[in-house]
Amino acid sequence: MTLLEVSRLSLRFGGIQALDRVDFEVNPAEIVSLIGPNGAGKTTVFNCLTGMYVPRGGDMILTPSKGPPRRLNGLKPNQVTELGLARTFQNIRLFPSLTVLENVMIGRHCRTSAGVLGAVLRGRGTRAEENEILARSYDLLLRFDLDRQANDMARNLPYGAQRRLEIVRALATEPALLLLDEPAAGLNTMETQILDDLITRIRDESGVAVLLIEHDMSLVMSLSDRIYVMDYGRMIAGGRPEEVRDDPAVIKAYLGEAADAPPA
C-alpha cells in the first residue's frame, strides 16, 4: 500500500507554472530523495503537501498504516501534521527562546489533548499526560544525542545540533512520513555522515518513511531507495539511484546542453 501518492500536482504563481502535473509516490519505510536544480519547485512540493500552498490541480493522497486514504488538498498545515506528515525547513525554524527539551515537547502537542481545564486543575489524567510528554521527549533527545543540552536554549546550539533538533522535533509528532528540506545544508563531511546514519536509523528503528530534498549528491546516492528529479516545475525522472544517475535528461538538467555535445 503506497504511503503517499501524488498525481498531477499543479500550481501557478502569477505567470509562472511552479508545478506542472507532478507525479510521485512514497512507500512505507522508504527513503526517497527529491533533487533538481534550484528553483525546480522542490520546496514548493513540500509546501503543497503540508498545506501552506493550495495547489491548483492534482491530488495528494496519504494512506497511514491504520486508517483510510486521506486527500491532503485543502487541509490546514496542522491537520496535515496530525495525519502523519511532519517536516523540517530549509532555513531552520526552531523556537529560539525555548529550550531544546521544550522544542521537542511542542512536537508532542498534536498527540496529546489536555486543555485549559486540565492545565488549571491538573488532575490525574493531565499529570500522567505531562509525564508521558516529558519522558518521550527526553527519550528522543537521548536517542539522538541531544540530552545533555536539554535545558539549553535552542538558539545557543551549534548549527549541526540545531538541524538535528529540528528533525527530532518533527519525529516527536509520530509521523508516518518525514519531509526533510535540505537537511545537509551547511554541514561538513563528518556531520553529513552522522546525518546519513541518523536518517537510516529513523527509517530502521521507527519505520518512518523519509522524503528529502537535497543537493549533496553523495548523501543522496548513499541514502536513497529511490530518487525523483525535478526541473522547471516538472518531474523529469524517477527510479533507483543508478538509473537516475545515468539518465540523459537528468544530466542535461544539471549540466546544460553542453553535456550532450559529442566529445571533440
Binding site: P77, H109, A114, L134, A150, N151
Partner: protein, 420 residues
Amino acid sequence: MPRDHHPFPWAEIKRSLLVSLWFMFLTFPVMVIRVNTVERTVEWRWNNMVLVGAGSFALSFVWRWLMARREAGRVRAERGEQGAETWTMRIQGLRELRLPGLLAGALFIAAFPFIFSTYQVNIMITALMYVVLGLGLNIVVGVAGLLDLGYVAFYAVGAYGYALLNHHYGLGFWAALPLGAALGAVFGILLGFPVLRLRGDYLAIVTLGFGEIIRLILENWNAFSFGPSGIAHIDRPGLFGLNLDLDWTMKYLFFIMIALVLFTVFVVDRLQNSRIGRAWLALREDELACQAMGIDKTRTKLTAFALGATWAGMIGVVFAAKTTFVNPASFTFMESAIILSIVVLGGMGSILGVIIAAFVLMLLPEYLRAFSEYRMLLFGASMVLVMVFRPQGLITRVRRRYEYPLPQGLPDRRGADDPA
C-alpha cells in the same frame, strides 16, 4: 611620560551640545510660547528653554552610554556567549527567601487595611485591579504574542454588564462576578474569531478599532447604555446581606481583590506551564513552525484571547462595584495603553514582572505627588525606553528547568551542567 591617558572628551561634549541645541530649537514653540487664543495672550516661558537645554545635554550622555551598553550586549549575544545570569534571575532562584518572604507578605496584607487610611486602601485596590488586568493581558500579549490594543473593550463589557443587570434587575455583585467573566469570554471569542488570523500590526489596529467602536456605541446608544452620563448607584458587594459603610466596603473590596489576585496568579501560572502554555510560546516564537508541528493556530490564539478577555470582564465588575458609577469615558484607548505598558514593562510573560510593574505604575504617581501630572508622559516615555534598552522588561523570564523522570534503564547524563 605621556600624560594624555584620558583626554578631555571634547568630541562627546560637542555632540551633546549639538543635541541640546537641536532640542531647544525643536521644543521652542511648544515649551516656550504659550498662546491663549481665547484671551489673546502670549506667554513666554524662557525658563523652560533652559530646562530643555540642560536636560537634553545631560540626557544625551546617558543615552549614548546606554546605547553603547546595548551594543556590547548585542555583540556578546551574536558571538554566542550565554547571557550572564542577571540579578533578577538570581533572586528568583533564591529558594531560601521564599517561605519567610511569603509569611511576611501574608502578615502585611492581613494588616494593611487596618493600618492605612481608606484613601490608601482605595489606591491599593486600584493597583491590585491592574495587577489582574496586567496578568490577563499578559496571556494574550506576553505569552501568545498577540498585540491586543482593544483590551479595554472587555473591561467595559464586564463593567457595563454588571451596571445594567444591577440597574434593571437588581443583580448582586457576587452573582455578577462570574457573569462578567463569562461575558468577557464570549466577547473575546466573538471579537477574536474574525481577526486572529491577521498579521501582528493589523491585529493591533483592528483590536484598537474594536475598542473604540464599543466605547462609541456606549456613548451614543443612549437607550441602551444611558450615553455619556453613564449609570450610577450601582450596588457595592454585600456581605451576607449586611449593609457596609464606605470604610468597611473598601476593606472588604481589598480582601476580595487579594483573593482574586491569588486566584489569577495560580491559574495563570498553571496555564503557562502546561501543554497549552507551551503552544502559546511556540506561537509567539514562530507561527509557521508552530502550525507545522500540528498546533491549530486559530484555536490556540482564540483560547489565549478569550482567556485574557475573561479576566478583564471579571475586573470590570469589580470596577463598577467599587466606583458605583460607570460611563464611557473610563474606557478609552488610553486604558488599553496603560495595561499594555504594564505588560511590556513587567517583561512579556513574567508573572512576577507584571505584578511589580502594575504596582510601580499605579503607586508611584500617587506617592510621588509632584509627578502625578506627568504620569501619562512617563508611561509613553517608559514604553519607548523599555523597548529600546530592555525589551525583556523588568524581570528576565527564567525558562523552566525540567527535572525529568528518567524512564527505567536510561543512562543519567545530566550531571554535566545541571547545578540545580
